[in-house]
Amino acid sequence: MPQLEVHSIHTSYGLSQVLFGISFVVEPGEVVSLIGRNGVGKTTTMRSIIGLTHATMGRITFEGTNITRMAAHRISRLGVGFVPEERRIFPQLTVWENLDIARRPANNGNGWDEERVFSLFPDLRDIQSRPGGVLSGGQQQMLTIARSLMNNPRLLLLDEPSEGLAPKVVEDLRDQIKALKDSGLSIVLAEQNLSFVLYLSDRCHILEKGEVKYSGTPNDLRANPDVLERYLTL
């Protein structure tokens, strides 16, 4: 059974429909990427999965549970973590407090706590008493991912994690996400940075106008420059 199954979802903001029957699955431990230009529906797909914008048609199941119309906090408690774009931390709370409010013990006793989070993101250890609002973009991104890990998710949704970060920071972030993948965490990654996607993904889906236009492995994509040309170049 797939860990996440997104089956033909249609999502709208009021009268404006954004997704037109998106479908894909995520197997346990897999990194699946959604790629495409701005406005193709990557973020809306993420928001539909986590329950922030409910799909009007179609079905989303996580580990066999139908989560299509479920509230975001209940989906999160089931084991789905969400790292939104633009690094949405709580600026008034310190780094440690940001982590602490998301703390949720793992069922198997081998979950994420602050020590494990700090070992993945050592920079956060030194700044744990600083308010979130004064951190750099890279530090805020690490904190957002770390905060999601404190929830002990079994599936992590990462929405454009490399956006707006310096190349060196993106490189570090890529290695940290790779470490998460190696730990067995399933990840759905929405990204525009192609090298980032190709390095991390097991399977990729290219989105265009709210539909999946192409699905394949990173090697398939590398072998199809015309696909990249058609859907990903500006």
Partner: protein, 313 residues
């Protein structure tokens, strides 16, 4: 965030507490009465701050729980002749229950809709107090409250108020500095963000509302005994507006800001009433000053001045 107070805050609290404990030694009835009333309003304003400053919702109807606490304590003490150790907790529980009932409906909404619904419920409480003359005394108020013998003079009542208010403020401090308080701040900062990290935001806002209603009930129960009566004005929207202005004047994002706001506004009202009958006009000017010049209240102003001095050095 932990329960331990920063040293400066703790020292200030101890000094204020010692100063208050010494008030009866000055043998001024006026000063004892003034201090008792200020203590009640400090607790009332701090309770509202749990909703405004921590959960990020504006309530226009907080006076309802103050009035419910007051009426319940007064009626149980006088009509039913319950002893204080039963009537007081019962009044507080009733305020909490009323707050829970209102919170169930209000927390379905946010922003101005939330505020308007809190106002609507508080006006319902006012209307009940006004119309249910056989129980509440209607617009004549519920007068002649039976206060236990040991609290029947100024000084013991002042110390009783001091103990209850200090204990309540300490409890509020612990609540606001617990994991619950941290999570409330996260909810205040961004409901959506808090939701997708697993926080049941509606339940948190509901809990904050109940905590606030409970402590407003404590303040109301004390005030009814102090006044030897409860009047419908306690539930009227102007009372809710006054405590809201107290909270804004002190600074809603600081734990003790509303206490400073309550003290300042209460003293201003007392002194202004000696010179003019137009206190509402003065209050309007104060509100204008807060909105235009002091958005973070007096605590924010103090921080800005400290920042300027530190910058200058």
């Amino acid at each position: 965030m932990g329960w331990a107070m920063p040293r400066g805050v703790l020292t200030t609290c101890i000094l204020v507490l010692v100063a208050l404990a010494c008030v009866p030694l000055m043998e001024s009835r006026y000063l004892i009465d003034l201090s008792t009333e200020i203590l009640v309003y400090v607790l009332f304003a701090l309770s509202l701050n749990v909703i405004i400053g921590f959960s990020g919702n504006v309530s226009f109807g907080h006076a309802a729980y103050f009035a419910i606490g007051g009426y319940a304590n007064a009626i149980l003490l006088t009509t039913y002749e319950w002893p204080l150790f039963l009537s007081f907790p019962a009044a507080v529980v009733l305020s909490a229950a009323a707050a829970a009932f209102v919170a169930y409906f209000c927390t379905r909404l946010t922003d101005i809709y939330f505020a308007m619904l809190t106002l609507a419920f508080s006006m319902l409480v006012w209307a009940i107090a006004f119309k249910w003359r056989s129980v509440t005394g209607g617009d004549d108020g519920f007068v002649g409250v039976n206060v236990p013998e040991f609290l029947n003079s100024r000084v013991p009542f002042f110390y009783f108020t001091l103990v209850i208010v200090t204990t309540s403020i300490a409890t509020l401090w612990m609540i606001c500095h617990s994991a619950f308080g941290q999570t409330l701040i996260a909810v205040r900062e961004n409901l959506t963000r808090a939701g997708f990290i697993g926080v049941n935001t509606r339940m948190m806002r509901c809990a904050a509302f109940i905590v606030a209603g409970t402590f407003a009930g404590v303040a109301g129960a004390i005030f009814a005994m102090y006044n030897r009566g409860v009047y419908t004005e306690s539930a009227f929207w102007t009372e809710s507006a006054q405590v809201l202005i107290m909270t804004l004047l002190g600074g809603m994002y600081s734990v003790f800001g509303p206490a400073i706001g309550a003290t300042t506004l209460y003293l201003l009202e007392r002194f202004a009433n000696e010179y003019t009958e137009y206190w509402p006009t003065v209050l309007g000017v104060i509100l204008l000053v807060i909105v235009l010049v002091l958005p973070e209240g007096l605590v924010g102003l103090a921080k800005r001045i400290r920042g300027h001095i530190a910058g200058g050095n």
